[in-house]
Each structure stands twice: as structure tokens, then as C-alpha cells.
């Protein structure tokens, strides 16, 4: 067997994390052990979204690895670990604590450090940089006693920092040496349009001004303000502030490489070739510390591309990093800004087309070739909606329409805007994940091979995102993806039809709303008013589910009994031979020995096949329909209720033993799981719902594979939503962190009711979250921030459900009318259905294969033990 190789990755930022992910996904860990060394105490987090940190519930909301560890056992993540030396001869790195670690392959992903200009006073207390969560914590701490803040640097990051200071309630200034904001991306007119927007938000901009010094506060300590340079020898004005944030560019962290004699680029950064290999063939560099061809890239997308290239090379592939699209689109302080291609018209003969509206605060510029046939680049400020169509036009070099100005004129002034139809198939729509228009159309028209090996044709944007990855990273292209999908459907004359079935030209959500508005209590009333015909196996269970969500009655009450799928109609799980399985509720998987004995006795007395389920329950198979009430009675007498292992409802809430027994547990996960299962049991929903509660970050309850997962933290609970197992496994994502019990339950109430109200039929929570405009952020806006003001209503709905819950099986036993259907034959209730028979396998019954059942038909309820 070949010796396993060790890959050491220095740096656990976004790019280092992506590299490890790629190594795991592409199978490099089959031959390599990976050791990742992170300097910060936190695992990789989303630095691009750093500004959202103050609005989020904690660092976990930004984490790219919320569990703090990789699932693949070949990967070891060591945090709070610095690397102090690199010995390329010995192929070792030296760690901060003196440990020496050998490598076969080494990847430098050390990133960049903020550049702090050496002005006097730059190191005073009160001076900060803007790079890590620790930096933000320090800025927040300082802002508590400050009234003013100033950011040195008016580039992209500087404006992000200014946004943070505004959020912290500081009077905010931005000082930029260049004559305009964002000098790298914007021209003068665009920069001044942006200044007007920024100043409307209360930020004072000082452009074309140098910084002279950071001055001390009145008592000689800390920061009192920033002295600007004046004309000639005169000192300039003082900007009063107690907080100074330097954001004047970044420098690659290439010290390890320099000290070990690796080649570095003239302007800094580890020099690498197109495979991101340094001058030492066993050492690679990616991200901001690397300089492919001598050029450094300060965006995350090129860093990701480099990470993929290195993994490809280690697998023997021929991937190349050939430069990156430095196009930028972002929302800065609420203002849309985009810059792409040759934004400054540096191409010979290039012409500019400009549309500027000072009143609306928009500035749009197109740079086109001399003959006006091709788009070279552009700038958009204030309204960047056209970015999704324009950027791919640059990348693909397609011909411009005859009147290119229509691409940037506001709708209504020119001819209908040229839409996505004008894009060629090879146009790259999602630059983060490199998805072309052709791939998106293909996914809709021809389908994508699914995990089952069958082609799966995408029906909507959520499908396309899942199948192609388009729009799943920064999300800026989702609008374009949607337009492409709709454009395709329009071109083939397909209306996007959300009708349930031939009886209702309505979606499940529309039916839900109609039931709420008109207070319909029966299927007949609904179908007469809004549908046609007598319904079917699609619409009837949907209406039954909606009525149950609203009115909480017994599922077999009156006419609703005829709407239920067979499992709901018989309150048990039908099996292939027409018998049922009974799955008594064992909330949270906790069961006393006495109850366990009862289950054994029931199974033995009725000859039921017994199996432990994945949801921490015990499944009893082979009950004939007429045996169900007798079995339930035995269970009810022993203090059980039968359970919903069927139907579109809450199944189980799985748990570990938590802090009660486990030496690692930090919260009582079992009690929480039981409380949640008992709270949400019986809840009728668009699809089944599963939950899990883990007592610590080790996650033994596999909560993140559930529709809602709760994971204990030292301070409370992290709530994850939208996960599932099954054919398309999805990990649940963090909705909110460090919640107390009461807040956790409140958010869960809202989340589940919001899902029940708005999801499609048979849509589990993961695709539902994807389908929402805004995805998980939308869920957070509704559930956590209560932006729709729906919170109280959703909670009240859930409170109604909890109050109205009753044991459906027990209620059935008490009602002769409901019991009447539980017979073998209406005219021969004492005759068991003779076509049901069993064989024995491993000492238990199994349905007799009808094809093999050539022998005599067994009459009677006795089980033919030993017959083969």
C-alpha cells in the first residue's frame, strides 16, 4: 500500500477553508492527511460579510465551519496556532510552541494584513484595523465610550468600516488620499455620485486629503482626533474622533516565504506559476498572500479559484489559474455599486456612453469598442440592476444591440431593455461558481444527472441553484438566473404552473390563505368555491393538512376522514402487503425499562416484526387493520400513545444524553428534545418534519441533518434550520445563536408556522428556504427580526396547536363511528383477510412474497411459525 502523504495548510481563512473543502470533495484525502493551522482562535469565517457581524447574533453566524471541525477524519484543524519557521530542506514547519511538523506538500494561505501608514500616533490606544472578528470586537468595545470615528481610506474596505462605525452609532468621517472614493473601481463622476449617497447617510467624506497625525485625547492618552494635512506648511483641520480605523490597503503576508528564500513578487506576495506552485515544487501559495505572475488579487473569488487549482494539481490535474475577473458588485452603505471590465476605458479607441441622473443619484457608464459593437466594461452607481446582463456581455464578447444606451436607460425611456435573451450560451452568469447561461438553460431543458443516476429536469430557480451551484455564493446573479429560467420557459410556451392538480389551479399557499380568509371548514366548501370536480389523491390530503393546521380537529372527524391518505386514515404506516406498522411515540428516544417490556410484550402477543428505527423509536410491523385498535389499547393502557411515523407531520426529535450523563455535554439536550417533540407532535405540515437536539458541538444527535437542529453552546442553544437526509442531503444552516430556552422555542414556533403557511405541497424545509426570495436571510428577517410583524400571529397559531393537541389514537378508540373502518371485511368482521400471510426469517415474521406463495393460503390470525 502506498504511504499516506501529509498536506500542511498554513492559514484557515476563507481560501484555506475552501482548499480543504475541495481536498475532501475531490478525494485528495484518500491519499493525503491534511493538517490545517489557523492563527485565529476561530475557524474560518466569512470575512466578506464582516460588516454584518454587528447585526448578527454572534461570531457563529459568520462561521464557515460552525461545528469547528471537518467531518473527514483525515483532516486535522489546529486553531490558535502560529507558524514561525519554514525549513524547506527538512520539509518541516516550526510552530509557535516550538513543535516541528513535517510535510510532503505545503500550502501557504496566510492571507494579507492591513497596511497602517506610518503617521505619528498610528499606534495609540483607539487606533484599529478592520480585518478580523477580534478587530471588530475591539472597535465595538471602544465605541461604547466614543462619539466620533474616522476611517483612513475610502476604498471598498474603508467604506465597509465606515458602515460599521455608523452602525455603532458614531459620527463617522472617511478620509481618502485620492480625489474620490473607491479610486480603484470608480471614475471621478461615479465617485462623486457615491459621495452624495454616503453623505446623505451622515458620513462626512474628506477626499484628496492626506493624514498628518493621530492626536492624543485631552488628557494626553488615547485618541482625540485625526489631524489632516493642510496647504503648504500650515496644519490642516482636526477631525474629532476617539476611534480611528486604518483601512488604507492590504499587504500580502509573505514573511515565511521570504525568510525561507522562496521567490516573492516585486510588490509583495509569494510568486507562483499558473498552478500556484512557488519556486519550491513542494510549496504552493493561494489567496491574498500569493502573487500569480507577480500580481496580487484582493478578492475572494480568485482565491477560491487558486485553491481549486492547487487541489487539482495535487491530484495530477492540469488546472491553471489564468488571472481573474476583478468585476465588483456590492451594496455599500445601502448604495449599489458595480465596476466591471475596462471601467476606465484604457483600451485604445474605447468610447464611453454615460447616463447620469443627479436627482435619482444614479450614474451609469458603458465602455464600448471604437466601432460600438462590443462592450468592454462599465461602472454603475445607485442602480446596478443591469450588472447581471452587462458583465457576461464583457466576458463573452458578444455583439451589442444597435442602441447600446438602452442597456442603461431607465425602463420606460428607451425601447424594451435587452434582456438575458441576448446573452450567448457561453456567457458566464455566476462568476463565483463558474456557471454559464448554457448550463442553466441545459439544467432546465435537458436536466442534470441526479444522485440516483437519472436526469432531473430543473423546474425553478431553487432547482437550478441546487443542481448547478449558480447563485449560491454571493447571490448577486440570482436575479439573472431567474430571468434566464423564465425566459426559457416563455420561449417554449410553458407557463410556470403552480396548480396543485386538475381540481385546483392554486398553490398550497394560496389554498392555505383562502382557508384562512374564508374560514372554510370542509373540502366540499372549498372545491365548490375555488375548484372543480371531486378532488384526488393530490389535493385532498393537502386540504386535510391545511384544515388540520388551522382547526386542529381529529383527522377522522366527519368528512375530513375521506380526505386522508391511507396512513392518516388508519393512523399507522401501511406496508407492502397491506398490513400496518405501529411506532409508539418515544419522545427524544427516552424510554423506561417498564415501557420497553410492554413494547416487547405487545410485539410478542401480536406476532409483530420488531426493528429499531433511525429516529430512536421501535417499529412494530405486520399488524392487520383490525388489530390496530387492540394494539393501541394495550399501548394506551401502558401510558404510551402511538406515534406519527407517517403523514406530513412532526416525526421525532432525536437527542443525545446531553449534560445529564455525558462528560462533554454543556446543556440538557434530552429534556429539550422531549419538550420540543411533545410541543410539536401532531403538527400537520407540507411535508414531514424532523428535529434533533445535541448537547454539545460534537453533534451526536446529527441535528444538522434535520429540518430543525438545536445544538448546545456554553451560553444556550444554536438553532439550525433547513436540513434533511434522504436522496439530497442538506446540512441545516445557522438561523440564530446562543438562545435561551424561551427564545429558542419562540423562534421555532415562528419558523415552523411560517413554513406551514407558505411552503408548497411536499416541499421540505431545505428547498422551501431556497425558494424564498432572499433564502435564509428572508427566514431570519421574518423569524428573528420580525420584519413582517407576523411573529405574534405565528406564535399564537402554534399556541393553538399546542393547546388543542390530543392523543388521536385514544380518541379513535373512544368513538365507535371512527372505529367502524377498522375491520377486515364489512360483512365478515371475524374473518381475517386470507391473502395476508407471513414467512419467518431470523426468528421473526416477514410478508410472504406473493410470487413465492404457491402453497396453501393460511386462513386465520395465527402466524405459521416455521413454515418456509
Amino acid at each position: 500500500m502506498e504511504q499516506r502523504q501529509r498536506l500542511v495548510v498554513v492559514g484557515h481563512g476563507m481560501v484555506g477553508h475552501r482548499l480543504v473543502q475541495a481536498a475532501v470533495e475531490r478525494g485528495l484525502t484518500a491519499t493525503h492527511d491534511v493538517v490545517v493551522l489557523g492563527e485565529e482562535t476561530r475557524a474560518a469565517y466569512d470575512r466578506v460579510a464582516l460588516t454584518s457581524y454587528f447585526g448578527a447574533d454572534g461570531p457563529d453566524a459568520l462561521s464557515l465551519l460552525p461545528g469547528g471541525a471537518y467531518d473527514d477524519p483525515a483532516v486535522t484543524l489546529r486553531l490558535a496556532t502560529t507558524v514561525t519557521g519554514l525549513d524547506r530542506q527538512a520539509r518541516t514547519v516550526t510552530l509557535g510552541d516550538g513543535e516541528v511538523l513535517g510535510y510532503d506538500q505545503l500550502v501557504l494561505a496566510t492571507g494579507a494584513a492591513p497596511f497602517v501608514p506610518p503617521v505619528p500616533g498610528h499606534d495609540r490606544d483607539g487606533c484599529f484595523v478592520y480585518r478580523t472578528i477580534d478587530d471588530l470586537d475591539a472597535i465595538r468595545e471602544a465605541s461604547l465610550t466614543a462619539t466620533g470615528g474616522v476611517v483612513v481610506g475610502g476604498g471598498l474596505l474603508g467604506l465597509e468600516a465606515a458602515n460599521a462605525l455608523v452602525q455603532l452609532g458614531l459620527r463617522t468621517h472617511v478620509v481618502e488620499m485620492a480625489p474620490r472614493l473607491m479610486p480603484v473601481q470608480l471614475d471621478a463622476a461615479a465617485g462623486s455620485t457615491l459621495v452624495r449617497h454616503v453623505e446623505q447617510l451622515g458620513v462626512t467624506v474628506h477626499a484628496g486629503v492626506r493624514t498628518e497625525a493621530v492626536e492624543a485625547g485631552p488628557d494626553g492618552t488615547g485618541v482625540g482626533g485625526l489631524r489632516l494635512a493642510g496647504a503648504g506648511d500650515e496644519p490642516g483641520p482636526l477631525v474629532e474622533a476617539e476611534v480611528v480605523v486604518f483601512s488604507a490597503g492590504i499587504r500580502p503576508r509573505d514573511q515565511l516565504a521570504r525568510a525561507s528564500g522562496l521567490e516573492v513578487a516585486e510588490r509583495g506576495g509569494v510568486l507562483v506559476d499558473e498552478q500556484c506552485r512557488t519556486s519550491d515544487p513542494r510549496v504552493w501559495a493561494v489567496g491574498e498572500c500569493a502573487a500569480p505572475g507577480g500580481r496580487m488579487y484582493g478578492l475572494v473569488a480568485p482565491g477560491y479559484a487558486m485553491a481549486e487549482v492547487v487541489v487539482d494539481a495535487l491530484l495530477g490535474g492540469a488546472g491553471r489559474f489564468l488571472g481573474a475577473d476583478m468585476s465588483t458588485k456590492l451594496k455599500l452603505l445601502g448604495v449599489d455599486v458595480a465596476s466591471f471590465g475596462d471601467a476606465f476605458a484604457t483600451t485604445e479607441g474605447a468610447l464611453e456612453l454615460v447616463f447620469s441622473d443627479a436627482v435619482a443619484g444614479t450614474y451609469k457608464k458603458l465602455v464600448v469598442t471604437e466601432d460600438g459593437t462590443r462592450l468592454l466594461g462599465g461602472i454603475l452607481v445607485g442602480d446596478a440592476a443591469a450588472y447581471g446582463v452587462l458583465r457576461p456581455m464583457v466576458a463573452s464578447g458578444i455583439a451589442l444591440p444597435e442602441n447600446p444606451e438602452e442597456l442603461i436607460l431607465p425602463a420606460g425611456r428607451g425601447a424594451p431593455a435587452t434582456g438575458v435573451g441576448a446573452l450567448p450560451d457561453e456567457a458566464q452568469v455566476c462568476s463565483c461558481n463558474d456557471v454559464s447561461k448554457g448550463e442553466i438553460v441545459g439544467a432546465v431543458r435537458d436536466g442534470v444527472t441526479g444522485p440516483d443516476g437519472e436526469p432531473h429536469r430543473c423546474e425553478d430557480v431553487a432547482d437550478v441553484k441546487r443542481c448547478t451551484g449558480a447563485g449560491t455564493t454571493c447571490g448577486s446573479c440570482v436575479g439573472t438566473v431567474k430571468a434566464i429560467v423564465e425566459d426559457h420557459f416563455a420561449s417554449v410556451g410553458k407557463e410556470v404552473d403552480r396548480s396543485l392538480c386538475e381540481h385546483f389551479a392554486l398553490s398550497r399557499q394560496e389554498i392555505f390563505d383562502l382557508v384562512v380568509v374564508h374560514d372554510y371548514r370542509t373540502f366540499d366548501a372549498l372545491v365548490e368555491a375555488h375548484g372543480s370536480g371531486r378532488g384526488c389523491d393530490v389535493c385532498k390530503p393537502v386540504v386535510a393538512s391545511v384544515l388540520a393546521s388551522r382547526f386542529h380537529g381529529h383527522v377522522l372527524e366527519g368528512a375530513t376522514g375521506s380526505l386522508q391518505d391511507t396512513n392518516d386514515a388508519f393512523l399507522a404506516n401501511i406496508q407492502r402487503n397491506g398490513t400496518y406498522s405501529v411506532v409508539p411515540r418515544i419522545a427524544g428516544g427516552e424510554i423506561t425499562p417498564e415501557k420497553l417490556i410492554v413494547l416487547g410484550e405487545v410485539a410478542r402477543d401480536f406476532g409483530l416484526y420488531t426493528k429499531i428505527t433511525g429516529g430512536q423509536r421501535i417499529d412494530l410491523f405486520g399488524a392487520r387493520v383490525e388489530q390496530l385498535p387492540v394494539i393501541w389499547q394495550r399501548l394506551v393502557d401502558a401510558g404510551f400513545e402511538s406515534g406519527h411515523a407517517y403523514g406530513k407531520s412532526l416525526r421525532t426529535v432525536k437527542s443525545c444524553v446531553g449534560s445529564t450523563w455525558c462528560r462533554y455535554g454543556v446543556q440538557d439536550s434530552t429534556s429539550m428534545a422531549i419538550a420540543l417533540e411533545l410541543r410539536y407532535r401532531g403538527l400537520r405540515s407540507p411535508h414531514k418534519i424532523k428535529g434533533g437536539v445535541s448537547g454539545c458541538a460534537r453533534e451526536c444527535a446529527e441535528a444538522r441533518s434535520k429540518d430543525f437542529g438545536v445544538i448546545a453552546t456554553e451560553k444556550g442553544w444554536n438553532l439550525y434550520v433547513g436540513g434533511n437526509g434522504g436522496a439530497t442531503p442538506v446540512h441545516a444552516r445557522l438561523l440564530a445563536g446562543d438562545l435561551d430556552d424561551e427564545t429558542l422555542v419562540r423562534y421555532l414556533d415562528r419558523y415552523l408556522m411560517y413554513y406551514i403557511r407558505t411552503a408548497d405541497r411536499l416541499q421540505r424545509t431545505a428547498p422551501w428556504v431556497e425558494s424564498l426570495d432572499g433564502g435564509l436571510d428572508r427566514v431570519r428577517a421574518v423569524v428573528v427580526d420580525d420584519e413582517l410583524g407576523l411573529g405574534a400571529e405565528l406564535e399564537a397559531d402554534m399556541a393553538d396547536h399546542v393547546d388543542a393537541y390530543f392523543d388521536e389514537w385514544k380518541a379513535t378508540l373512544e368513538d365507535p363511528e371512527k372505529l367502524a373502518r377498522f375491520v377486515s371485511f364489512v360483512n365478515a368482521p371475524d374473518l381475517p383477510d386470507p391473502s395476508i400471510s407471513f414467512d419467518v426469517e431470523r426468528d421473526q415474521v416477514r410478508p410472504r412474497d406473493p410470487a413465492a406463495a404457491a402453497g396453501p393460503v393460511d386462513l386465520g390470525a395465527t402466524i405459521p411459525v416455521g413454515v418456509r
Binding site: 370536480g533 371531486r534 391518505d565 407492502r576 402487503n577 377486515s824 360483512n827 391473502s835 395476508i836
Partner: protein, 125 residues
């Protein structure tokens, strides 16, 4: 095993019509085999063999009853194939079928009669 009783003398009373809820079915034991007897929303009654022809399981009486166009049908509870209540032919695949029986209501009592001849595929709407 097949129900051989034909003609008026073969009618077997099964239950009173109120014992079948509208748009549901019940299983009955008729002429030595399991028969699913359905009642529609307008109180027609229909009888089909209770065995789902795809799986052999004796379950059709437990399916959801609805309509496709003007055709009343039951969806098999196992895999949802729709069987026309008037003839027992699968509406999605006419080669799949379950037997169909005469059925009527006399003085409030549902009666099941003879097995009907199997319709040719072309006869099925």
C-alpha cells in the same frame, strides 16, 4: 377463486349504504374473494377487486376516492395508481386492471353482483 355467481340470483348484500362514508370504500367478502365497495359523493356505488394489481396487496378499499374529468376513481394506497370505479382499469395504463363487479343499492342495502366481463383496452375512455 373467481366469483362465478352471475345473474340476479348472485346478488350478495354487503352492508347498509350509511356504513360507507361518502367518497370512501369498504372491503367486503363476496363469493369467496375480497371486494372493495365504494360510495361516491352522489351516492353511486361501485365494486372492484380489492387487490392492487401491481403489488397483490388487498388494499384498494382504503384508497382516496376522487374524480378525473367525469370519471370517478380510487387511488391505490400503495403507489397511487388511479383505477376507474366504473370498470377497474388503471387510468394511466389500460393494461393494468382489477376486476369490476355489478353493484346496486336496494332499500338502503348495498349489494354486489356478478363479475363483469373485462373491457377491451380500446373501450376504456
Amino acid at each position: 377463486m373467481t366469483g362465478g355467481a352471475g345473474g340476479p340470483e348472485g346478488w350478495v348484500p354487503v352492508c347498509r349504504i350509511e356504513q360507507i362514508r361518502r367518497e370512501t370504500g369498504v372491503a367486503a367478502w363476496v363469493h369467496g374473494e375480497a371486494v372493495a365497495v365504494f360510495r361516491t359523493h352522489d351516492d353511486e356505488v361501485h365494486a372492484l377487486g380489492n387487490h392492487d394489481p401491481r403489488t397483490g396487496a388487498s388494499v384498494l378499499a382504503r384508497g382516496i376516492v376522487g374524480s378525473r374529468g367525469d370519471e370517478p376513481f380510487v387511488a391505490s394506497p400503495l403507489h397511487k395508481e388511479p383505477f376507474g370505479l366504473r370498470h377497474g382499469v388503471c387510468l394511466d395504463d389500460p393494461t393494468v386492471r382489477t376486476p369490476s363487479f355489478e353493484a346496486r343499492v336496494v332499500d338502503g342495502v348495498v349489494e354486489v353482483g356478478a363479475r363483469r366481463p373485462v373491457p377491451a383496452v380500446a373501450e376504456v375512455p
